[in-house]
Symmetry: C2
Subunit: 391 residues, 2 copies
């Protein structure tokens, strides 16, 4: 039978990272591709203890239908938790529990955008945001990242030129570049958003993974008018497969997102929400992060050293203060994309940088994840990359 698929999916290819994911089942493969936390940081024992307690003390609550807006204790504790990035004075009507942070991007595009709408994104930006934009047939326009992640002059220029409803920004250890917005940039973004009536999606899954320097308040913390929607997730700080995240926004926006969430997945799994609530209330989330930071720092430094040792002179890279990624660029125009297949054949995977650019440029760039591989794998994998790119 010939299927009459919708226009939105007719030429839609898979999300590059998800597609790469499939080749990683090869046990010999060294992956710098996904944004996976280190295996030894995944707190299975604690999850077990909390899940046991919850299933014993509240068996019906954990298994029966729950509210679309989220498990109430978690909405409360998560709101309390984000006070650490300066998000204060919000109530449960400002909070929506999400089935992973990415659902927040999806629900925001669904709530705000028509087919053909332009949205502004960092250039480069998180590739899943570009993938989601395709499913709504949006036209993402990139603005320059400048030194810290957002060139606010270019942002304002592009807003005037394209009149977008939404601007999507990863403020801390940006995916893919690892850049972090300065304090002044955060304030300026709110000023611009208010001036032009634009809503900013502040996507912050990495903010707590800082192993150097000082934490900064969120963009949302400067928002007095309701122009910022803050998203954060426990995928990098507890575990990705729990699929639990949070949106904080004006209650008019939360209400629209919740009505859309009713239509997409009814509710997030209650047990994983309640487990995350326990991680937050007991402080276990912060103890886990504290344990992971020296490890991530060690891995980042190992990868930086290996890159300097094995990669050709034309390869330059960022030196992150946190997060999970190093961003690399070949100044001589060498195409990382063209070598991807060869790399996989040599049992090392990365993400070709072009997938992060709204305009499809960036063939000469690559994103390297250092959190999931072991120190030995980092050394060996970068050595393999060096051999491939030095030919």
């Amino acid at each position: 039978m010939e299927y009459r698929f919708a226009e939105r999916v007719r030429n839609l290819s898979g999300n590059a990272i998800r597609e790469i994911f499939k080749v990683l089942s090869d046990k010999e493969m060294i992956s710098f591709a996904g944004g996976m936390p280190a295996a030894q940081c995944l707190p299975a024992k604690k999850v077990k203890v909390f899940a046991d307690e919850l299933l014993s003390s509240q068996p019906v609550k954990m298994l029966q239908y729950g509210q679309t807006e989220g498990y109430l204790p978690l909405r409360e504790s998560f709101l309390k938790y984000v006070e650490n990035v300066g998000i204060k004075g919000y109530g449960v009507d400002n909070a929506l529990i999400l089935s992973g942070g990415q659902q927040g991007i999806d629900l925001m595009f669904k709530t705000f955008c028509e087919v053909g709408d332009k949205i502004l994104v960092q250039n480069p930006t998180y590739l899943a945001a570009l993938h989601i934009a395709k499913t709504y047939q949006l036209r993402p326009v990139g603005f320059e990242c400048g030194e810290d992640g957002v060139d606010t002059e270019d942002l304002e220029r592009k807003i005037k030129e394209h009149n977008p409803k939404l601007v999507y920004i990863v403020p801390n250890f940006s995916n893919p570049t690892g850049k972090t917005l300065r304090l002044e940039t955060r304030k300026k973004i709110v000023e611009i958003a208010e001036k032009y009536g634009v809503v900013v999606i502040e996507d912050d899954p990495y903010g707590r993974i800082r192993y150097k320097g000082e934490h900064l308040p969120s963009i949302k913390s400067f928002d007095k008018s309701g122009c910022v929607v803050y998203l954060t997730s426990v995928s990098k700080t507890i575990a990705p497969a729990l699929r639990v995240a949070l949106a904080v926004a004006d209650e008019k926006i939360i209400r629209k997102m919740a009505v859309c969430k009713q239509a997409v997945d009814v509710q997030t799994v209650t047990l994983t929400q309640a487990v995350v609530d326990q991680f937050i209330r007991t402080g276990e989330i912060d103890r886990g992060i504290a344990r992971s930071l020296p490890l991530y720092r060690e891995k980042a430094e190992a990868m930086l050293a290996a890159l300097d040792k094995y990669m050709p002179e034309s390869f330059v890279h960022t030196v992150p203060e946190g997060g999970l990624f190093i961003w690399g660029e070949f100044t001589d125009g060498t195409s990382a994309k063209a070598k991807f297949r060869e790399a996989v054949e040599n049992k090392v995977a990365f993400v070709s940088g072009n997938d992060f650019f709204a305009d499809g440029s960036g063939d000469n760039t690559m994103r390297l994840n250092f959190s999931n591989a072991t120190l030995e794998q980092i050394e060996l994998g970068v050595k393999r990359l060096g051999a491939i790119f030095s030919k």
Copy 2:
């Protein structure tokens, strides 16, 4: 700040059942509203045992990112499980794990429909399908249910008239009417779908909840051309808040749905998928269903008796052989919708039938769930309804 919401959500009200859900936090309320399994059927102890085993034996697998298509052992065991409705000969590329059955409807509409497209639905049909249709700005057209749930002559007439890509059908103990398609109807639906190149979404969450009569093969079991997408869920047979369900379809459709799922929630929670896999592999799912059936039958009979005792003469209702619902109608045109608020004030909730009709008719109908209330609550709640509707 004034928000520039998308057209699709500007006038979108909440899913009626989800909205009713919020009033149910009142402990005095007797609810016949949701489609909730009985609390005593929720297998918290078994979930705990399986979750413990899985977190001990496969700690990283349970918490690290997994494939969008689903946890491989579950795709295999779930495909084996649906052989009991005659779905045979399919491989894992024909299976997609969903975050609840409703996600299957959402992904199908996303994969197939443009703004303004018509889809065909039973009249009345599952209200969430109508709600999802609104989020894609579709135009649902109802066809007559006839005696068993699908009047195939009217279905064919409406296909010819409206040229839809999709037909949405609940084949067993249909939500809301409780009707079940005869064998001949199932075969005829496939014949019509093939003739006109229409895809049928067969949504089967209730099929196993049969306490009278014989199980029938699925519509999908007669499909040789790939025209049927089968959806089933464990929300009614294990527990709703696990959010695990299955789609079986031609691999071209599964691939498109999976690429869309990448964009909406990346993956379903691994732990709940693996727990469901254990329920299926150990046979615990069927033992649980077997334990629930006498209870559901008893509750259904108690509600039927109470309705006959307390409701006015003009009230007629179905007598279901399975599922979770009784469907009622006032032959004198009494509006159930108009009395809903009074019912809630009197601490008894139902779902007004009009929410299930594509054309918004059916004010004189109501859906009553009997699985979640106790026998005492059923007697008392129907007595309250009787008093309200006999005035």
